[in-house]
């Protein structure tokens, strides 16, 4: 079948098809390597590729640069890596409208560059923005240190274009910031990890870039001191763009509180005074400008993808439980990052018994009613672990959604929650 499929795709997109082992391995997911890598050059070619793969009864996974492909279950079937990175144009950008329409393959970093020239930005900061496409950002619902103050992907996507599993090209939403015409398919596809449709185009709300951005780093006694400080600052409503506790070396290891402040001069100065009043720690670094400030936060943003570790988990809890979750994880993790406002903790572990560690972490999270996302785990456990926990109460409805929109299971079969 794969030989036929490769030739059918070659008829469509010519040398956009690769079957050499090196090319295919670059898009392997866990232990599964696709038979074909297809890189369509435009939206119509992409649509045709999906159609051909579906009609062949084969399965595809939409990808950008593959930076986040570790997220999700190993696919049940994976014949074609459908690379969307060639669809990378900006379709519409009128700065005064504060909206931008881009093709799904444009990277987040490239978009930010264009927006910055107009004094604007998309206040979302996924890990590794230079290798993260807008399609990937939306499909994987990625976030970073900014999400505690700026919101999540779902708050910024106002329109989209997508290819359905049967090859229909559809649109939803629009290019205006307020719009209730038709169902909100933007919400349905955000975070659906390529299992319902292949995104081709996304319209986003953008925001003015803050006039001033500064970064302060405080050295703290230990992880608990950091967690306590951050939780207290969140409770009094410190106006910070980002506020992350970074703890390394387990119990007794060192901890830092990294804070991004932004706004007009007076706001930044006031927030800084508030910080220095409330945080009992040594100030390590005060960035001189915006570029330096973002450089400090970049490794924190990228941590979930770049860290070493046998197991990496993300846990999201209610704010009043999040600190306790983080504190427990910090004791065991080689590195732990905690955001009091979004309730998110990301932790990396070195372990000789990953299965038991995962169960232990999940059980602790469950006692606090938290959500767990397994960001990385050893290959040997593929098929044995559930990546997202707890399984949602409406899983049956979600399965029906998948069957209705992708009855042949063409799109990323098995990748999603509960093996959808």
């Amino acid at each position: 079948m794969s030989v036929d499929l490769a030739s059918a795709l070659t008829r469509l997109i010519g040398d956009g098809v690769e079957t050499a082992i090196a090319a295919r391995e670059a898009y392997a997911i866990g232990s599964v390597t696709p038979s074909v890598v297809a890189t369509p050059g435009d939206c119509e070619a992409l649509r045709a590729c999906v159609s051909v793969v579906g009609d062949a009864g084969a399965a595809l996974i939409p990808l950008g640069y593959g930076a986040h492909r570790a997220l999700g279950h190993e696919p049940r079937r994976y014949d074609v890596a459908l690379v969307c990175a060639a669809l990378a144009s900006i379709r519409d950008y009128t700065p005064a409208d504060m909206t931008v329409t881009v093709e799904a393959g444009l990277t987040v970093a490239a978009l930010q560059e264009v927006l910055a020239r107009e004094g604007q930005w998309l206040p979302l900061d996924p890990p590794c923005p230079a290798e993260t496409t807008i399609g990937g950002l939306v499909a994987a619902d990625l976030g970073g240190p900014l999400c505690g103050s700026q919101g999540r992907v779902r708050d910024f996507v106002i329109g989209l274009g997508a290819v359905m599993a049967d090859g229909r090209l559809i649109r939803a939403g629009g290019k205006v910031v307020k719009n209730v015409a038709g169902y909100d398919l933007m919400k349905l596809l955000t975070g659906s990890l390529g299992t319902l449709a292949v995104l081709t185009e996304v319209t986003l709300k953008v925001r003015p870039r803050p006039a001033v951005t500064r970064c302060l780093v405080f050295e703290l006694a230990d992880a608990d001191a950091g967690i306590e400080s951050a939780s207290a600052l969140a409770a009094i409503g410190l106006d910070a763009l980002a506020m992350t506790v970074v703890a390394e070396g387990g119990a007794g290891g060192r901890a830092r509180l990294v804070v991004l402040l932004a706004g007009v001069d007076a706001d930044v100065a006031a927030a800084r005074r508030c910080l220095e009043e409330h945080v009992a720690g040594v100030v390590l670094d005060v960035s001189a400008d915006e570029v330096a400030a973002h450089a400090v936060i970049a490794p924190i943003r990228d941590f979930v993808r770049t860290t070493a570790g046998d197991v990496v988990v993300q846990i999201v809890a209610l704010p009043d439980a999040a600190g306790r979750v983080a504190s427990v994880l910090a004791g065991e993790a080689t590195r732990m990052q905690f955001d009091a406002r979004s309730g998110r903790t990301v932790a990396a572990f070195a372990t000789t018994d990953p299965a038991r560690l995962i169960e232990r972490v999940a059980a602790r999270a469950a006692t606090h009613g938290a959500h767990v996302v397994l960001e990385r785990w050893p290959l040997v456990l593929a098929g044995e672990v559930e990546v997202w926990r707890p399984l949602p109460a409406s899983l049956a409805l979600m399965r029906r959604m998948k069957t209705e929109l992708d009855p042949r299971a063409t799109l990323a079969p098995g990748r999603f929650v509960g093996g959808i």
Partner: protein, 478 residues
């Protein structure tokens, strides 16, 4: 339904909710013949008012078994006929589900039942320094369930987003009577974001009985400015410059002369009735930077020939200003026996064009049209004044409304920003979406509601026969 079927259904409903929760006399039913969109009216056969999720589920299950479609209703303040009982003659009113089930101050969450009034949510948490941000103009009457169905907005959504941005989870009764929980209190989505799909689905996927809402702290400091301009064009240019300066106000509202006249007659705030347009601009944030922000906005308004820029002196004046704005729709009743509020959206930069277009359309149809709208969002609300006793004028109102929406679409916008499609705009939905787009939406609907039992005959344009089919319903208004 035949009268026998209706009688049988009524008895079964009484067994579930008690006799006082079932309405079927013509006098009782007349209250439910329309919502805030009064151009069309239709009476339900039965209105049932359950008090709990269990009762809603039992009612819906009964309807499922009897093969009877239903239409959910909140407070009936909708503006697109979303709860009009056209195809479904069983109306399920949620107004008796008024419990706030939980308030979690440390985590800034609140669980409200569908019938809780929007303003009651903020009232319940004000003493904790918290608020529920979405604030539709009808907030003193409209319900959380209705807000979710319509994905309602309001003046303060410019900076803070609409209902969906503050909704974390819902309890949903599916059309077969099953109760499902979508989402939860945690700021993270597990699986598909079905909460996000239900929000704005206008009651076509089931009945939301309760919702988990995110609360926000009250802003540290707020300044509300009133800028008086000679012309709508000057006011619009000021709006553009505020946005271009990188300022995101909490609200940025405009009223034109027609509306100001009505509002002033009703509330006597002190608006000059000879001004071409007034802007209400609210900026909020940390106290430290607010003075600079206020100064910047003031300067921009002055640059656009503002006759005066006045800062609300205190909370009382600020409240009076907002009351004038939010009750503008009602005040319009002084200008004409009837009015129809339109709801369209254009990209912010196209506001001058759409306002000029509306003026032309009004002149062409010999209609008086006032404008009160969310200028910062590009969300316009032309108010078309008419007299329903004049059949020709009613027809012109409908035609002008359609032309205004078509113009919004031509300018890159949408046919509804916050009022919904309902019955009013089913044909207009076809202006922005093609058959495949709508087919996928129908598929999504079928996942929840395979037999179209929940609020049938809404949102989706029917092929051709729609106008004829709806004509009898329209007659009541004409």
């Amino acid at each position: 339904m035949s009268s026998l079927e209706t009688a049988r259904l009524r008895d079964a409903l009484v067994a579930i909710v008690g006799a006082e929760g079932v309405l079927s006399s013509p006098a009782d039913l007349s209250v439910y013949e329309c919502d805030g969109y009064t151009l069309e009216r239709a009476q339900p056969d039965i209105v049932v008012l359950p008090r709990s999720t269990r009762e809603v589920a039992a009612v819906v299950r009964l309807a499922w078994d009897a093969g009877v479609p239903f239409v959910p209703r909140g407070a009936g303040t909708g503006l697109s006929g979303g709860c009009l009982p056209l195809e479904a003659k069983l109306m399920i009113g949620l107004s008796r589900m008024r419990q706030i089930r939980a308030i979690d101050v440390p985590n800034r969450r609140l669980v409200a039942e569908a019938g809780v009034v929007n303003a009651a949510v903020s009232r319940a948490v004000r003493s904790h320094g918290l608020q529920y941000v979405p604030d539709p103009s009808s907030q003193s009457a409209c319900t959380i369930g209705g807000n979710i169905a319509e994905n309602s907005g309001g003046p303060h959504t410019l900076k803070y987003g609409v209902t969906t941005n503050h909704l974390l989870g819902v309890e949903l009764v599916l059309p077969d009577g099953a109760v499902v929980e979508l989402g939860d209190a945690i700021e993270h989505t597990l699986g598909y974001d079905l909460t996000g799909v239900v929000c704005g689905a206008e009651g076509t996927v089931g009945i939301v009985t309760a919702a988990t809402l995110r609360l926000e702290p009250m802003p540290a400091a707020v300044t509300t400015l009133l800028s008086i301009h000679e012309t709508v064009a000057d006011a619009t240019a000021a709006v553009s410059d505020v946005i271009a300066a990188g300022i995101v106000p909490a609200a940025l509202e405009m009223m034109d002369r027609t509306i100001v006249e009505a509002v002033e007659a009703a509330f006597g705030f002190g608006f000059p009735t000879d001004a071409g347009a007034v802007l209400i601009i609210e900026v909020d944030g940390p106290a430290a930077g607010l003075a600079a922000l206020t100064a910047a906005v003031t300067e921009i308004c002055r640059n656009h020939r503002a006759r005066s820029v006045r800062v609300a002196a205190d909370d009382a004046e600020r409240a009076a200003l907002w009351k004038s704005r939010k009750r503008a729709f009602g005040a319009v009743g002084r200008l004409a026996p009837n009015y129809c509020t339109q709801d369209g959206v254009v990209p912010r930069t196209r506001l001058p064009e759409i306002l000029a277009e509306i003026e032309c359309i009004g002149a062409r149809h010999r209609l008086r049209i006032g404008n009160v709208f969310h200028a910062g969002d590009g969300n316009i609300h032309p108010i078309l004044l008419y007299d329903e006793r004049d059949e020709g004028e009613v027809a012109r109102v409908i035609a002008a409304g359609r032309e205004i929406l078509a113009a919004c679409v031509r300018l890159g916008g949408s046919v509804t920003g916050e009022h919904g499609i309902g019955v009013e705009k089913m044909q207009e939905l076809g202006l922005i979406f093609g058959p495949d787009d709508l087919a996928v939406m129908r598929q999504v609907r079928a996942v929840f509601d395979p037999d179209s039992r929940a609020n049938p005959g809404k949102i989706f344009p029917t092929s051709g026969g729609c106008v004829e089919r709806r004509r009898p319903a329209r007659q009541a208004a004409l």
